[in-house]
């Protein structure tokens, strides 16, 4: 050691010291109030393909926090939302969730937008016994292998969404169906949901064409669909994939012979894609602001959102962000505690109506039983930039539409 100049060691120390200063928690520490805040971690893909949906989730979640704090919080403790960018990347989502739990010491986690990230966040949370309320679609999060007492699922499942659209659309448009499916778990789950609901109605699957996730050019799949001449083409994909496949199906003049439906019509995707791409397309969603005409809580929610955000209306995923946080905070009050286990038990008993009518969490898998809205894209007579969908029907919440507890691998519980 004597051979090395002292400055080499000093260099090491300086480097360590500099990196400590740069990365020190000092920069990120928030001023502490007298009573510790109720901290809710919120990992969501602020950058990447779904950043618009994610940012709406954040806005709506922050509204929920504001409303909670405005009523005095819980025993004087205010709620606080810690938003983190998971970049739509499960590895990053895991790291961020670890950060939220280990460094920021959050009490609960709500969030994520893709099935892969939501399952990942769930895994990290359940190992550490932190309550997680998932606000993104997934069939697997309800299954026994991924589920835990700390896992809650605010969002719809592909099974229910696809089933609702199937129950509405199939009797109307014909029996021969082709599926153009994104080749990942979510896509497969949607097809399964359609087929389950459709078989009793006599639906015939002509083909289930699986395209790689993220395909931008669908021309290679369309000639075959053209040749099959189905009554219904179901686009079992999401977001930009849906936009591109819908556009290109239109280019190949499929709409003249075939009705195009999709399990999930995203409000933000429709706004970005424009009226022409989505013309005549019908699909399901968890929420559309137009429900305010018939549902009081929708009107209240929309007005609060408009007031907070310059006249803008909340999107479907935004509403889920709102409800996800609101449910957890309500359960804190009901349980009179911020311990995840106690809050979990309170959430299981909760019956709520935050924005679209009554909802509750099924006991065996903590799935939020809720309504599904069937909408059709508007291409003419749009009053303003928000008026993009026409509500065709609302399927009322019904436990029967979910997959059974046994099928998911749960022992049926009573409490």
């Amino acid at each position: 050691m004597a051979d090395i100049p002292h400055n080499f060691r000093r260099r090491q120390v300086l480097v360590a010291g500099a990196s400590a200063l740069i990365a020190s928690p000092f920069w990120f520490e928030i001023a502490r109030a007298d009573a510790p805040n109720i901290r809710i971690g919120f990992p969501t893909p602020l950058t990447g393909a779904f950043s618009a949906e994610a940012q709406d989730q954040v806005r709506a979640a922050q509204l929920a926090v504001k409303e909670f704090n405005a009523t005095g919080g819980y025993k004087g403790r205010m709620a606080e939302l810690l938003v983190r960018d998971d970049k739509l990347n499960p590895g990053e989502a895991a790291s961020r969730t670890l950060e939220l739990i280990e460094k920021d010491k959050v009490d609960f986690v709500v969030g994520s937008l893709s099935a892969a990230t939501t399952l990942t966040v769930n895994n990290v949370c359940k190992d550490r016994k932190i309550l997680f309320n998932s606000i993104s679609q997934s069939d697997q999060i309800n299954e026994a292998s991924d589920w835990s007492l700390y896992t809650f699922h605010e969002a719809l499942t592909p099974h229910v969404t696809a089933g609702a659209v199937a129950r509405y659309a199939f009797p109307k448009f014909g029996k021969n169906v082709v599926y153009l499916t994104a080749d990942y778990a979510y896509g497969h789950e949607m097809v399964r949901g359609f087929q389950r609901a459709g078989e009793p109605m006599g639906m015939k699957t002509l083909a289930d064409i699986r395209h790689p996730l993220g395909t931008t050019d669908y021309s290679a799949f369309l000639p075959r669909i053209q040749a099959l001449k189905p009554d219904v083409l179901v686009l079992c994909n999401f977001g930009r994939d849906l936009l591109n496949s819908a556009k290109q199906a239109t280019d190949f003049r499929l709409k003249s012979t075939t009705k195009i439906i999709t399990p999930v019509l995203l409000y933000t995707a429709r706004q970005a894609g424009g009226p022409e791409a989505f013309e005549g397309i019908l699909g399901g969603t968890s929420y559309y602001w137009g429900m305010e005409d018939t549902i009081a809580s929708a009107r209240a929610f929309n007005n609060a959102f408009r007031k907070a955000y310059d006249g803008a209306v909340p999107s479907d995923y935004g509403a889920l962000g709102y409800a996800g946080v609101k449910s957890v905070l309500q359960a804190v009050k009901d349980a009179d505690s911020t311990e995840s286990l106690k809050v979990s038990i309170a959430l299981r008993q909760l019956r709520y109506d935050w924005y679209k009518g009554e909802q509750f969490y099924r006991k065996c898998d903590h799935q939020s039983v809720q309504s599904v809205v069937i909408v059709e894209s508007k291409s003419t007579v749009m009053k303003d930039k928000y008026d993009v969908f026409k509500i065709l029907s609302v399927e009322a919440p019904d436990e029967k539409n979910l997959r059974t507890c046994e099928e998911l691998g749960h022992a049926v519980t009573r409490t």
Binding site: A52, S219, L222
Partner: protein, 294 residues
């Protein structure tokens, strides 16, 4: 599959060719820059994306799709030349890795720049009015715009070939890529050559983007998968070969299209398998000769 018919196969083949046309255009831009300068342009997909955004933007501003097709390559070409002059030139002589990393960083900057200018969602696009609709090409309905794409790509490729093979400037470029020192001795300014070549490559990339925009939505991340596709095609064809880029582009398009018919979930994979197979049999690519365009 009971529904296979000769018409369907033929239609699928035509689809493959239209896909291939875009691939070929993409590959040429990349191949030009690597073949002539030995620089791997990792921002190729980003320039494609910028071209797509600019195309939609100019369409909105001027109402003319065709004017956009002229302006976009000029703008992206200029952007490319600025990149070469300011960022790539200091790295010459350091080996092939450094321009790679630099252009990778540049792609991040371009993506973020477009996000800041045009928003994170992307822009809605529509096929230009004159080219809408599908025509019956005897074997089925095929979108008119895609036929136009095949034609447009062929025109650009032919124009480039004329330039490189038949003009004096093209001669200088070809000579400069093989023996730059000799060309310098003869009094030609190699720096200017490289500037122009880089600009030409990015111009073509931007043009490809503007041409592709009406088919697919335009969003800031659209260039990322394009980069991988371009590399695959370029390498299969052989870096630095115009004929190679075109052949490989069409080949990849047809392979992708045919795989989509028989095993659609393996469509993406088929392209990589093709690349692996070609390179293992012919390690220089189909027409690969280093530093020679032709």
């Amino acid at each position: 599959m009971a529904d296979l018919s000769p018409q369907l196969l033929a239609l699928q083949l035509v689809t493959g060719l239209s896909l291939g046309a875009v691939y070929a255009l993409l590959a040429i831009g990349l191949s030009l820059i690597f073949g002539m300068m030995g620089v791997v342009n990792f921002a190729h997909g980003a320039f494609f994306m910028v071209g797509a955004f600019l195309g939609v933007y100019f369409l909105g501003m001027t109402g003319s799709f065709w004017l956009g097709l002229v302006i976009v390559p000029l703008v992206t070409g200029l952007l490319g030349m600025v990149t070469e002059r300011l960022f790539v030139r200091p790295l010459y002589g350091r080996g092939v890795d450094y321009p790679l990393l630099l252009t990778f960083g540049l792609s991040y900057v371009l993506i973020e720049g477009i996000r800041m200018l045009f928003g994170i969602e992307g822009l809605p696009t529509a096929t230009p009015v004159q080219l809408r609709g599908a025509v019956n090409i005897g074997i089925g309905l095929f979108p008119l715009y895609r036929l136009f794409l095949i034609g447009a790509a062929a025109t650009v490729i032919f124009g480039l070939w004329l330039f490189v093979e038949k003009t004096r400037y093209g001669l200088i470029i070809r000579a400069g890529s093989r023996t730059p020192d000799m060309v310098r001795v003869l009094g030609v300014n190699m720096s200017r050559i490289w500037l122009i070549v880089f600009g030409l490559g990015t111009a073509i990339a931007g043009l490809s983007g503007a041409l592709a925009a009406p088919i697919r939505g335009v969003n800031p991340e659209m260039g990322i998968p394009v980069l991988a596709e371009s590399f695959v095609v370029t390498v299969v064809g052989g870096l630095g070969s115009l004929l190679g880029a075109v052949t490989a582009g069409l080949l990849v398009g047809v392979v992708y299209s045919m795989t989509s018919l028989f095993a659609p979930d393996f469509a993406d994979l088929s392209v990589f398998v093709l690349m692996a197979v070609v390179l293992l049999i012919k390690p220089q690519g189909l027409f690969g000769k280093s530093g020679y365009m032709g």
